[in-house]
Symmetry: none
Subunit: 250 residues, 2 copies
DNA sequence: AGGAGTTGTAATATAATTTAAAAAAAATCA
DNA sequence: TGATTTTTTTTAAATTATATTACAACTCCT
């Protein structure tokens, strides 16, 4: 099967770990259930001090902090964590409190979710933040400069606007399609396994039991939209036994 | 984060002084931190009367006023200041209260910023207002409304007059539509969930469970009025799984 | 009260994504 | 080589999410 992840994340190939800090047991329980269901390791804390302690002990990949907690509030925890770490942080704020939101972002939180929220929404934020966080590491690791507009052959990719053109005709890509293309193009010439792609584009932990064929399907659709002859791809290449890669750009 | 930076101010001479009047300590603290970081001198006040006192004593180059303050509200302070001075004034208003905004501008404020705002946004307004103030050779002593116009693509948004133009044709938006647009535009590039939008734009109490699909409907109506091709929106974008956002401006 | 305009709800349509599975291609090996 | 196995590609169906529409309820003006 697919070999170990070549792309180092902080835990090697372990699941990504999320620290959930909220004093409401019901919220902890729900989030723990839902997030572990889609493949994350969850650790929890019921107050601010515990959150800091657990953070230091467990070194999670992402932290979800409720603002209102006993002992130390979310900001305190955020500040404390930021003294030593750039780990992504999502803040849970109470209803529409402006100052809370500003404070949170000011202190270096990566995102915030306003209560009451649906678990689905938090899931989406978690993936989004993790995707941003992990994608940030990709470009530097290859030593490539990630340009805003990339041109190769008759394909033009505007990463800032998330738009793609072929022969100056705008091609509509869906969000997933674009994210996938973006990963491959930003690291052209480098092959990624399906698991790595799932991890980076979908922000799923390495061993999440999602069908890795999703990647194939998306690759197929991308080819049908981008390639001159989808049956003989010249841009999105198959690395048999490994995964996929984008034709090297220079 | 980017700490301690000695960015020279526009004059190169003495630092420009800004008075910040807001009863929320957290907002005062944040704005003080951020604005002094980029080279302004900051003085603060926690209520209306203090604001007037500090203004008379410190003679700042710009005043940022929260509308809602104890002792004397923002308008009172604005009126009071305008009796003796043309100093630029920025008003902080709650979202969606039209009359507040109009009143503020009538009273001679130079600009307003709608809560919730990001510190970055206020920084931009501060710079903009100061630039106008220092550049105006023949200052209209009335301190009449300085337009705050956002332009992107072929649409122009005049937030002061709550008017929107496409290709210089006026487009009629309803109040809700404009408020929604305003939230998204004022925070372009940032995705908001339906819940957040409901809380910010509709400002319903937490128990008033309204169908989140209302947001979809209004987004749809906005698109049909604003977008060149409503089926392929380029301004009001869908953040699948999360909500909506306005195409990042700048 | 009457009419024009606005808003929320619900029903329906469309689109994006995942799953499943069959067909095709490439690799393995006796 | 040819049969077998593995891997990839493609298609279709199922699932989930978003978009649109029509209408009823409501508001604001006179």
């Amino acid at each position: 099967m697919c070999p170990n992840s070549e792309i180092p994340n902080e835990q090697g190939e372990a699941k990504q770990k999320i620290l959930i800090a909220d004093d409401e047991a019901s919220i902890r329980r729900i989030l723990e259930t839902r997030l572990s269901m889609i493949g994350y390791d969850i650790v929890t804390a019921a107050d601010g001090e515990e959150a800091v302690a657990v953070f230091n002990k467990e070194n999670p990949d992402l932290v979800v902090l409720d603002v209102m907690m006993p002992k130390m509030d979310g900001y305190g925890v955020c500040r404390e964590i930021r003294r030593t770490s750039d780990v992504p942080i999502i803040i849970l704020t109470a209803l529409g409190d402006v100052s809370e939101r500003i404070t949170g972002l000011e202190l270096g939180a990566d995102d915030y979710v306003v209560k009451p929220f649906s678990p689905k929404e938090l899931e989406a934020r978690v993936k989004s933040v993790l995707r941003r966080a992990t994608n940030r590491e990709i470009a530097p690791s290859t030593g490539k400069v990630t340009k805003n507009v990339i041109t190769t052959g008759n394909i033009k990719i505007d990463t800032a606007r998330r738009q793609v053109f072929r022969k100056n005709e705008r091609i509509r890509l869906t969000g997933m399609e674009f994210s996938l293309l973006e990963l491959l193009v930003n690291n052209s010439g480098q092959a990624y396994s399906r698991n790595e792609i799932l991890q980076y584009v979908w922000a799923y932990p390495p061993d999440h039991r999602i069908d890795t064929r999703v990647v194939d399907v998306h690759i197929s659709r991308l080819r049908s939209k981008l390639e001159t002859d989808p049956a003989n791809p010249e841009l999105i290449l198959t690395a048999r036994g490994i995964g996929y890669m984008f034709q090297r750009i220079n």
